[in-house]
Amino acid sequence: MSNTKTFVYINRKAPYGTVYALESLEVVLIGAAFEQNVKLIFMDDGVFQLTRGQDPEGIGMKNFSKTYAALGDYDINQIYIDQQSLDDRGLTIDDLQALVYEDEDDDWNEKSSIHLVNREQLSDIIESADVLLNF
């Protein structure tokens, strides 16, 4: 496969309660093998997927939130958080886990994969998609 496309994944649901957050992460990780240009958006209740200190044992679910930290190793480092969604839920960026990657073009310096964006920037990111997957 020679052609590279921009895949945008929109994550809009809470991590537990439905299967979508888990499935989205699954698709992203499997899709990484295809070496496409991948962008992840977290908005609406989807911002809860990245919150620190998740403990879903009481509802019999596996805590998969630690897996997000591996995204950087899969060269997935374009992660966009909707500022408005954080504000609406009384969250700040400090409530979310840090996601980083090592920049091979800059002496493997560790950099943050997370970008806070407003609605206008979000619409540009969505506009840039060749393939849009909504979870």
């Binding site: 496969m1 496309k5 979508y20 698709v27 499997i30 496409q36 393939v131 909504n134």
Partner: protein, 130 residues
């Protein structure tokens, strides 16, 4: 134009599978090509041969199977989603010590990579259902 179709909801409760079926047929009739139909989430329930809707209702599984035969469609059911929901082919059934096989003709169990590959290879990925 080359399409990949993704179906996320099961038959009958929602119209998504009906709409996807009609869209697929219309696309073929209009001279477009279907690279793949990918059944995901509850959409895998479209692939069970054990569904027996009333005779005066449409049988979505059968419609899909017929469409697949008629146009040689590549209809893929996500393996992880299928295992969770009891959609089994011969191989999966044996591997998991089950007695029955319920995957309908024309459907094939494979991985999520097929969805990504569909997105890469097609001009449009069209998604039906939540």
């Amino acid at each position: 134009m080359k399409f990949t179709i993704q179906i996320n909801t099961g038959p009958y409760t929602h119209q998504a599978s009906d709409s996807a079926y009609r869209f697929t047929q219309a696309a073929i009739d209009a001279g477009h090509s279907i690279h793949r139909v990918f059944f995901y989430h509850d959409g895998v329930n479209n692939a069970t041969e054990y569904s027996v809707p009333p005779q005066d209702d449409r049988n979505l599984q059968q419609l899909w199977s017929e469409l697949a035969t008629e146009h040689n469609l590549d209809m893929i059911v996500c393996v992880a989603a299928a295992q969770r929901r009891g959609i089994l082919d011969e191989n999966e059934s044996k591997k998991n010590g089950k007695n029955g096989v319920n995957i309908a003709p024309g459907f094939e169990i494979s991985g999520l990579g097929q969805l990504i590959e569909g997105g890469v290879q097609s001009d449009r990925l069209v998604v039906f259902g939540d």
